[in-house]
């Protein structure tokens, strides 16, 4: 084993401090008595109580989890299939599809949000002419999240498989497996870590998204990031610090669980 140079180690610690100190400060101040974050005036857990009393927070939490769970499920299935297709087939269409998949990742969130907003408005105008009405809300946000999540899942699945050739599937077929069996017993197990990683990525992206959600949600449907962001106008109240602390906790647990699932199992 090579030993790490002490300067390098110190640098690493500095980077970690830079990344994690703000989070630590936030957590500490969620226990601060003062309504204003500037001074420490005493320890309290009252802000967690205030938080639980807020009906808008409870509703937003429900909306956030509904959208995150369902959109992750849908985008994982669709994204995995897309990723497999990209890996398996070689054609000119593939290059075009790859470019198309990268687009939602590189397009700025604001552009994506406004684009979807206008798209929904056009659809709505059309439907209204036919006598139907709908309001932006759960379904429009869900669809918006799925559109950007698919790309992330597809790309993680494809890069997971990029080291393997299509011969693997052919070999399985030669040994007598049906198309279905070779998919379930050969291809999917190989792709599985990529699928899980993509799903986790999709889930956290949905949980965090503010811009696209703001533009695609209708009245009465706010998610936690939208609630938090629009609440900082007159200053972050400590109950929002408490809420952020809880969100961080959830994210950390999700990452730990995913790490445990993704750990390579060694045989023998």
């Amino acid at each position: 084993m090579t030993r790490t140079h002490p300067l390098l180690a110190a640098w690493a610690w500095l980077v970690y401090a830079f990344l994690y100190l703000p989070i630590l400060v936030l957590i500490v101040f969620s226990f601060n008595e003062s309504r204003f974050g500037a001074e420490w005036t005493g320890f309290t857990t009252k802000w967690y109580g205030v938080l639980l009393d807020r009906a808008d927070v409870r509703a937003a939490l429900g909306h956030t989890l509904q959208v995150a769970l369902l959109s992750t499920l849908v985008s994982t299935v669709l994204g995995t299939l897309t990723g497999l297709g990209l890996w398996r087939y070689t054609s000119r269409a593939r290059a075009a599809l790859s470019t198309l998949l990268v687009l939602p990742i590189v397009i700025p969130d604001v552009v994506m949000g406004v684009m979807l907003l206008m798209f929904y408005a056009a659809v709505r105008a059309g439907l209204e002419r036919a006598g139907w009405t709908f309001d932006n809300g759960f379904w429009t946000v869900l669809l918006a999240h799925v559109t950007f999540q698919i790309s992330y899942v597809a790309l993680t699945v494809r890069s997971r498989l990029s080291g393997y050739g299509p011969e693997l599937e052919e070999a399985a077929r030669d040994l007598g497996a049906s198309a279905w069996q070779s998919f379930w017993r050969v291809v999917l197990p190989l792709a599985w870590p990529g699928v899980l990683a993509g799903a986790l990525l999709a889930f956290t992206l949905s949980l965090d998204d503010f811009v696209v959600t703001y533009f695609t949600s209708g009245s009465g449907f706010q998610t936690l990031p939208v609630l938090i962001y629009t609440n900082v106008k007159r200053g972050v109240t400590p109950d929002i610090n408490a809420l952020s602390t809880l969100l961080i906790l959830v994210t950390v647990v999700a990452v730990l669980v995913a790490n445990a699932l993704l750990r390579p199992r060694r045989k023998g």
């Binding site: 974050g37 500037a38 206008m118 709505r124 209708g218 009245s219 706010q222 972050v236």
Partner: protein, 337 residues
């Protein structure tokens, strides 16, 4: 069933309000729901621009929106608003005369004043007390540490007030003078950058700066907890930002929206609102009912004659694109220095 009208019809029981955060006392909403049997949905936005983008894109159905005064004209021109029905707003009589018939909405055809704040100078008594208003920041001395609001109209407006001009001027010579003044100001050693209300408030509480330009309400909310932080109105005059109540053209429940506006214009409700937000009320009948703490703050209610003699300016929409470009250019230069 086909409907010819593109306006969705409401159920008469749900009121959808689009408003700034911490700007509506939940108890008022609860009482209104109890009286009417209606359900009130409050959604929040964080800037006039984001609110406009969402409404213009047709993104959501709201009845009542709370834009700042200078956005009202834009919303009228975009065809987003419906004229108010005065017959349904008898409590309009409670509004102080100086806030009726404002330059941003002559005759109050589309808007009713909601809450307002003048822009003041905030300080921490334990560190420093300003004597001379804007001169403390824009004067030739460079002894005080200060921050300016992160808002082009407020910063350029303050410089214009110090020079004795209107904060809405389109006069090139006056704007050039304001630009030169601001160039010198941001070059001072004491200049600590641009910040929003909460950031400035926290820096004052932490005694990191001597002075900060701030909306009076954003500072007052902290004064009760820490009486050391105070705010004054600069003697040279200042700007005022008024938030308003407007009803959207596509409102599914305009009758309910009018009823809510009328409730908010009630004297007791108006006082309760200001006691909650720490912003000033344009409701003259509500003023005697304010908390003693708010009544004791002179900066909350600027002298009535300040509006008439031009010491106090609403931030208006600029008269033309050329003026808009001048303001933009000054701001870009200040921020990219």
């Amino acid at each position: 069933m086909k409907t010819a009208s593109p306006v969705p019809t409401g159920d008469g029981r749900t009121l959808r309000v689009f408003i700034w955060s911490e700007y509506m006392d939940p108890d008022i909403v609860k009482a209104f729901e109890g009286q009417t049997g209606a359900r009130v949905i409050l959604d929040t936005f964080e800037s006039n621009e984001a609110m406009l983008a969402k409404l213009q894109g047709g993104g959501a159905t709201y009845d009542l929106v709370v834009p700042s005064s200078y956005v009202v004209q834009t919303m009228v021109r975009a065809g987003l608003l419906q004229p108010l029905d005065r017959a349904r707003l008898p409590n309009l009589k409670n509004v102080a005369p100086e806030f009726l018939n404002p330059p941003y909405d002559p005759g109050n055809r589309y808007s009713v004043p909601y809450q307002y704040a003048a822009t003041g100078l905030a300080y921490n008594k334990s560190r420093y007390t300003p004597q001379r208003g804007w001169a403390e920041i824009f004067g030739p001395e460079d002894r005080r540490s200060f921050v300016l609001l992160d808002d082009p109209r407020e910063v350029i407006g303050a410089a214009l007030k110090y020079l004795g001009h209107s904060a809405n001027t389109a006069d090139v010579a006056q704007l050039r003078a304001a630009r030169d003044l601001l160039r010198r100001t941001v070059a001072k050693k004491g200049f600590q950058g641009f910040d929003g209300g909460p950031g400035t408030r926290n820096k004052l509480l932490a005694r990191q700066i001597d002075l900060g330009q701030i909306y009076v309400g954003d500072l007052l909310i902290a004064t009760e907890e820490n009486p050391q932080v105070q705010v004054v109105l600069p003697r040279e005059g200042t700007t005022i930002s008024m938030d308003t109540l407007v009803v959207l053209k596509r409102s599914p429940n305009p009758a309910l929206a009018h009823r809510f506006i009328n409730t908010l214009l009630d004297d007791e409700v108006g006082a309760r609102l200001s006691n909650y937000t720490y912003y000033a009320t344009p409701n003259a009948a509500a003023r005697p009912l304010l908390d003693d703490f708010l009544k004791a703050v002179p900066a909350l209610n600027p002298p009535a004659d300040w509006l008439k003699n031009g010491k106090l300016n609403f931030i208006d929409e600029l008269p033309d694109r050329r003026a808009q470009r001048l303001y933009d250019r000054i701001w870009t230069e200040l921020k990219s220095r």
